[in-house]
Subunit: 528 residues, 2 copies
């Protein structure tokens, strides 16, 4: 009976097989969709892949076409290797690698030549010792040199190529009498490879690191503006609890994306600026373009973004000011935030369009908004009393704010609800056995949350308001840095016409959030 | 007269020449000192350089020794190249690159072999077309593949080597009839190179990425603890203005270094964890070591560090609570900070020594300190009134705090001094011509600072206190993550004996601040 085939089992296994086959057959489709998505996110990727394919085919012609092969022979291999290794996504990276490769090869060739002169006059055993020890010494020195920060930053690849070429030539010279042709052929084929790479990356639909850096800087401003806007909206929206949860999650995610992109930008900024400094485009204009200013602006923006992160922390904090108290300050806070957002957007537009920002970009409106926030806080002195007093003082508070009595009355109930739920949480969990280390965390959490909630209710709000004020102060540092950049990069002077531009373009600020321009044509024409 | 040699001029130029010669003669000395410093900072660098030198000499023996050369011949070149390119600083990176290189070569060889089978039966022209188009297609596909995030993260180097090998074999096959020996020789010499690299990096004084990640995590905790300690000390120390300025600058720098190292650690953490996952050391123990948990802990620590950055922002802010007001809260705030610092140090020690942290690491002391801060803030309700009211309420404040009357009395004078100096600054600068855009910034700055200063004096302090509370809440998230790591990494159970260890070692917490252990022997024995 156990051995007899069970028809239902058979049917089951065949259906499982069918499912598996379907799953496997879906793999190419999902991979295709994934590949398509990567290309659609930034079409320059597909173009770059096409360029690499073309460059490789071109360099293969050295082998395939008879007359060319007669010229270079088997050394064409080095040209192929050069194209594979040197052709990078942006022009700056390709130039940097190409020059490093060329320089490394030349230096290594020269050094190997000198060593060859010494080695050629000696006997076989001495020669072996001499070659061995020079390989060891140069290997040690070059590797140690790669730890020097200045070398690591600019010439790391060059040192690797130097070491590679030096070893190849020195070691080959041990078996081959005349090593000069080897060195010469290697150099000439590498030159051919580099020439093809430079041609493809500079003249065929080039991607400029500088442009990427420029547009990522613009996107950072836009992202921060979105973050702040969403953050403040969220902070004062808590009381409508029937709000769409999906919307809320989306807005929380957008807050995070905006400032996180700024906080994580350090290494990519530095790389882009490094490669951009190799690009000839702006250097042709008699002055070297101030890419390092972009890096510095990025660092000031990160400093600004810490405040945005802290503001976001206020949203997610365990310790919360009741919505009713917050709603008292909604208008002045929102106004300050809106003014900050406006300034950030104006800065984004002025950088994007390469014109200087308005001298009064930090407007009087912002000043007024700060004044309003100030008077709003001053008009509620009782709020900053401890929560024990809050009960007694609630009536005074209501009297003070006769315009919003319902909102204020809602304060204490909601505050108490939180309080009760937390103490319930503590009661249910604190009687757990102490040996379960992981589980004992929760009671501690609620203990701290309890302590915190007994603080003055307005304390968290004070932090929020203080961060808003701090943000304005840091915004000024950002503006100062932007003005420095504008001056150093010779942006065109601010004209009244630019006001028009700002009004026209400010509506299209919602662009793709990952900092890569979908269509970099506009940026490129603006910069030329 | 003009042509006559001027003796004083001559003397001058000779002294300038002398200075120049001296300057140049000092260059080797300063370079030597620089090189020595780099080695002293992390002696493993010099060891690594020696290892590379040795590996290169070993691989050169393939050429130099007659019997070995007969075996591999000129293809020994590939072994030399492999050693130069694959031997990296840490074992994980070397394994990752070596396996990528091996895998890429094998795959490319197989594919080239298949194409060779098709191409060998056709005419010369068709063959040229076929080889050209396959080079183009594979070049395009491989380059496009490098943009896939999963490929880019793990197999980027493998794809480059695949492309390189495929092109070399396919293109060579066009001129050479039997391409199999080429493929076989390349593979075998690459295998020899990889073997030498793996031997040097795994068995000769190995550097483990995992260990670096582990100790950098420990250093992050220590750095954060130092930052918080220095930050709070600084915040409550402002009133002693005769303090040593050099000390102050050093302490400010140490604040910055501590949390900045955490904030900037993202990419280095991810790299180290990636390489660590290739290292066999822990995988031999039947479970894969949870390196990704370290990355996650790093991200939670960054989240915590945002609060530290914001706390530091309170120090540097333009808007400051008068020192006299701050001093009222010095003790409770310092106590909370000290408790947080203690917890961070305990976590650092428990991670460093691979034992679990005490279940009550978030101690009752912290709870008490928070309670004290709470009651301190509640006992000063009048402080949170606006500054206009402050004058009238000052007497009440003094009465409320009969224990610290002198400190409170000092409040308003110092506050007013700041105020006056700022308005003076505004007056002197606001009458500048409006066309000097860069200079008009200052008045705006003071305008904002003025507005801010008119806020309730205690608002900035409220932010400071709120950040301290928030920090405690986030500390709990850190502890939760640490416990997750400890469980996943099978750290040994917490015993009473560990308390002893903590007491003994907590005094040696001041280690080199750049996150690289000067002597990693202790870490390595602890992990074995």
């Amino acid at each position: 009976m156990a051995c007899a085939p069970d028809p239902s089992n058979n049917k089951n296994s065949s259906s499982i097989l069918h499912q598996q086959v379907q799953k496997i057959s879906r793999i190419p489709v999902s991979w295709g969709a994934h590949a398509w998505g990567i290309g659609r996110e930034d079409p320059r990727r597909a173009i770059h892949a096409l360029k690499v394919g073309t460059a490789l085919t071109l360099v293969s012609l050295l082998y395939i076409l008879e007359p060319l092969f007669k010229g270079v022979g088997k050394n064409a291999m080095w040209a192929v290797m050069t194209v594979v290794v040197v052709l990078e996504f942006t022009a700056g990276a390709t130039i940097c690698k190409g020059l490093n490769r060329g320089l490394g090869t030349i230096l290594a060739g020269s050094l190997a030549f000198i060593i060859e002169i010494v080695a050629v006059r000696s006997g076989k055993v001495f020669r072996a010792l001499f070659v061995g020890s020079s390989v060891f010494l140069i290997g040690f020195a070059a590797t140690y040199l790669r730890f020097f920060p200045s070398i690591k930053k600019n010439y790391d690849y060059g040192v690797v190529i130097f070491l590679l070429t030096f070893n190849l030539i020195t070691v080959s010279s041990f078996r081959q009498e005349d090593v000069m042709p080897l060195a010469r052929d290697r150099l000439s084929t590498i030159a051919i490879g580099c020439a093809i790479c430079l041609f493809m990356s500079l003249f065929v639909l080039p991607n400029w690191s500088g442009e990427d850096l420029h547009s990522s800087t613009v996107h950072k401003f836009e992202g921060l503006a979105r973050s702040i806007e969403a953050c403040v909206t969220e902070y004062f929206q808590d009381q409508d609890k029937d709000d769409n949860i999906v919307d809320k999650q989306a807005s929380r995610a957008s807050i995070h994306i905006g400032y996180r992109a700024v906080l994580d930008s350090k290494s990519s900024d530095e790389n882009l600026a490094h490669y951009a400094s190799w690009e000839p485009r702006h250097s042709m204009q008699c002055y070297s373009y101030p890419w390092q200013k972009y890096v510095k602006l990025g660092s000031v923006l990160r400093h600004f973004a810490y405040t945005v992160a802290a503001l976001h922390g206020c949203l997610e904090s365990e310790v919360q000011t009741p919505p009713s108290v917050r709603s008292l300050f909604r208008n002045p806070c929102t106004r300050v935030a809106q003014e900050v957002v406006k300034v950030l957007q104006e800065l984004a537009i002025s950088i994007r369009d390469h014109h200087r920002c308005a001298p009064d970009v930090l407007s009087d409106h912002l000043h007024e908004a700060l004044q309003d926030l100030n008077s709003a806080i001053r008009s509620q002195p009782r709020l900053f009393l401890g929560s024990k007093h809050a009960c007694a003082n609630n009536r005074v508070l209501v009297e003070l704010n006769s315009s919003k009595p319902t909102a204020t009355r809602a304060t204490l109930p909601s505050f108490k609800t939180d309080n009760t739920s937390l103490s319930e949480r503590r009661n249910t969990k604190s009687d757990q056995p102490p040996e379960r280390n992981e589980r004992t965390l929760r009671p501690t959490l609620s203990k701290i949350a309890m302590t915190s909630l007994e603080f003055s209710e307005a304390l968290p709000f004070a932090a929020f308001a203080s961060l808003l004020v701090e943000m304005v102060v840091r915004l000024e540092m950002v503006i100062e840095e932007v003005k420095g950049l504008e001056k150093a990069a010779n942006f065109r002077e601010f004209t009244e016409h630019d006001y028009l531009t700002i009004d026209l373009t400010s509506s299209e600020k919602m662009r793709n959030p990952n900092g890569i321009p979908l269509n970099n044509h506009t940026v490129s024409t603006a910069a030329e």
